[in-house]
Amino acid sequence: MLILTCPYCGVEADETELQAGGEAHIKRETVGSSDEDFEDYLFARQNPKGIHFERWRHVYGCGKWFHVARCTNTLEVFGTYSAQTTEPPQDIRDKISGKRPGWSWGIFS
């Protein structure tokens, strides 16, 4: 069972209290984008075995969206952080680096 701490209300919520929102940090392609970039934005998603960044919503609690850094293989959670960001915060990256040196995910490493 995945247990995530909501960064907005501090509650330790298990996954039955949350709603999965898919991959995090997707940049929206809009007016002026090429067809290829727009197609990627719409359909292409990562499906890693290992470190992954996701969006989750505390749907039965405070109702807020937040970000999670976790491992899809071991279910280890590296941390949760605010949704008001376009990239993982440094402390979360450092924490992952400490446990999984040399990791990379999309444009982040």
Binding site: C9, G10, V11, E17, Y60, G61, C62
Partner: protein, 188 residues
């Protein structure tokens, strides 16, 4: 004016904990910037209790303020006072970015009483209810089996629980089933 009645009209059940539908309660949803003194004062003024911290609920009798989310409060009053209180808060916050709604008729309130009340809730909600993790004063929004609910403790043996009025019957049945004599777990 029509005669307002609560969803289950104070239905009760005596299992290994007592379940009681609490009747009508005034509830006002107040959304806004909770760090704003104006918003805080509007809420505490209507309920005459201290402003709650994150994940807490302060209440005295039928009045109280509960922390619902980083930008939402639940202000509780006696049922008859809810509409005038909501109007007063809205007037106070007229020039502040805020939302005030009287949601009294959209909710149902339950009491779960008894030394094993904790166990009844623990069977239904994905929350750590051990006595050192969930204490009087704490407020938790969560789910109860399949529906959203929120609860807090009045004292060591009394839980108060709110849910949507439309699912009051379902929640009452759930609570009664979980409180069935002979089904004690004895976890706490």
């Amino acid at each position: 004016m029509s005669n307002a009645v609560s969803a289950l009209q104070a239905k009760t059940y005596a299992g290994f904990a007592e379940i009681e539908e609490a009747g009508l309660r005034g509830m006002i949803t107040l959304r806004g910037d909770l760090s704003s003194t104006k918003v805080k004062n509007a809420a505490t003024g209507a309920a005459s209790v201290d402003f709650p911290g994150m994940g807490e609920c302060n209440c005295v009798d039928e009045k109280g303020v509960a922390w619902m989310s980083p930008d939402e409060l639940l202000v509780m009053t006696p049922y008859a006072d809810a509409q005038p209180a909501a109007e007063k808060i809205a007037k106070t916050l007229a020039k502040t970015h805020a939302l005030v709604a009287n949601v009294s008729d959209a909710r149902a309130v339950f009491f779960i009483r008894g030394p094993n009340a904790r166990e009844v809730i623990a069977k239904l909600a994905p929350v750590d209810l051990s006595p050192d993790r969930f204490k009087p004063g704490q407020f938790r929004r969560t789910r109860l089996a399949q529906v959203p609910a929120a609860f807090w403790m009045r004292d060591a043996e009394t839980f108060e629980l709110i849910c949507f009025r439309s699912v009051a019957g379902y929640v009452f049945d759930l609570l009664c089933n979980a409180a069935q004599p002979g089904s004690e777990v004895g976890a706490f």
